[in-house]
Amino acid sequence: MSLIRRHRWLQGAILLGPAAAWALAFIVVPTVLAVCMSFWKMRDFRLVKEWNLDNYSTFLEGDIYWRGLLNALQNGAMAAALAVALSLPLAHFIRFRVRRHKTLFIGAVVVALWLGYLLRVFGWRVLFGANGVLNTFLMDVGITQEPLSFLIFSRFAIVLTQTQLAMPFAFIPIYAALERVQPSLLQAAGDLGARRWRQFVSVELPLIAPALVIGATFAFILAFGDYFATSFVGPPSATQTIGNQVADNFRATINWPMGAALGTIMMLAILLVLTLPALATRLWRPAGRRRRDAAAPDTTDEGALA
């Protein structure tokens, strides 16, 4: 009996071993290293392993870093809200209204990604430019005299592109959760007098609440860390995001420790943002007990995020 136990333990170790080793080498060690590095400094463009808090005090003092963090948080929040808001009707439509070729409808959401992020951002820029399709049309028709300038190099453009960037990633978990909502539950609600909208609000939404949180989280993280859209279509003031600052410290100013410190701060920010919805979900369900019901994504989904 004990032999079998050990045998089974061994089986687990063999299956888990490679992934665990990989994770140790490429997740744990780099993270620890990056955190350590954030307490070191550069001298003459070379890394010096002298422990200090300078990078963090620079962060605390530097107005520009705070602005970078706030910009990123704002981007994340907007994209999360909009990506979820757009994913919901889409997912609902595919789940409950599309009968055949669901694959096509779902796949089309993902394939939109395959144009490549850069080209997608670029496409918006072309579309919204002063000589772009939209402005030319508006001026030809006579709706506007001058090109609309808010369309591009603006916060509006950032929100638009980042929402588009993040939407498929919000859509996937939301659709997966909706796929597990039995239509009979909505029918039951209708039977009990709920109009379509109430069916959606009172039954559908609560059932997929955890997936909404997951989808919003994905969208948030993508937009929070993104800096291509901001520098491509944003106003100059928005080009400073904390993600951009991390990148610049590595790719430009060669201040790795500062970059690592900002990266560490990003990790902390994400951790905070991730725990908030987890707490909220726990409060959301007064019934209390965590349970695996028909619609909620599996606990591991939640667990991984919480």
């Binding site: 039977d191 009172s202 609560p206």
Partner: protein, 393 residues
Amino acid sequence: MSAARAATGSTPTDRPAAAATAREGAAPAVSVRDVTKAFEGHQAVRGVSFDVGRTEFFAMLGPSGCGKTTTLKMIAGFEQPTSGEIAIAGRVANGEPPFKRDVNTVFQNYALFPHLSVRDNVAFGLRMKGVGRRERAKTAEEALERVGLKGYGRRPVPGLSGGEQQRIAVARALVNRPAVLLLDEPLGALDLKLRQAMQSELKQIQHDAGIAFVYVTHDQSEALTMADRIAVMHGGRVMQIGDPVSIYERPENRFVADFIGESSFLEATALGMRGDDRVEVELAGGAVVCGVGGARPRGSAVTVAIRPEKVRLAAAGDDDAGSAEENAVTGVVTSAVYGGSDTVYELLAPGGTLKARVAMDPGQGHGVSTYAVGDRVCARFAVAATVAIAPDA
């Protein structure tokens, strides 16, 4: 189609004016008129008509895929008929969404909301109607009490047993005081004992609530014990409508005879009438028997249906002749299966295989089979228990 029409025994569908008149005064709770439903070329329901009285317990009975659920859904408003008309409490409901219909449904899988507590499930309909929180809670608790689940209000739904969920689904529907309650195999998932307990409970609830129940089941014994009237369905059509006794004792066609309870079918040829509703036939193997049935042209093929439990057996002897009230055929036992309270024998008889379910003689203690395979026996069954139907009807 013809079977269905004939079976309704009410206003023919090609005279809508008459139907309209019927709606005044005490219109039926549900009136289904010549309804069909096609799914992408597949006809799920093919011209179904029936009325359900205001306080009637009406069962739709039939094998899997016969269109029961589809018909129920059309009454509830989840599906729209391809043709035909559905009226609820005298008002044509075609095109109306479910939330405007004065019906409620108990779903096959209960469809309780997993994110709500038991009480919030029951109170859902009231909430949709805008009833205040306090009153909602009170009414829901009362409804729970009525189905024997007092004190369950705060519990979460997942984890409740099938029987409990079933009763909550009923409470959730009844709390809205609908004119009609639709139930789709509400007991299908429960085990025998619980099913039996719930059957009488539901019957009681229907009686107390004083409303119409439309009850879908594929379990004939459930339909027989619970319903005031039964519509037997097959392949999207209604094969017969009637009260349990007439459905059981006077099946109109082979499908009903076979689906409701058991029947043996013997092939025969019509000889002539004996009285108004008795027909005399000659079994394929030679014996002459008499059964209940309408006029048949002499020489036409007839099928004779006999219920196994209506057959008495005796060792074959000299006096194996029938009488005016009782048929008698002689056959050879080909199998005998012990079943606790009875034994089922199969006889090779003229016209086919005749089954006899012989109850233990109540006076006798142990269940020991009386006849062995190979024995020649005489089977007797009342003329009143013999039904002559059209072959393959």
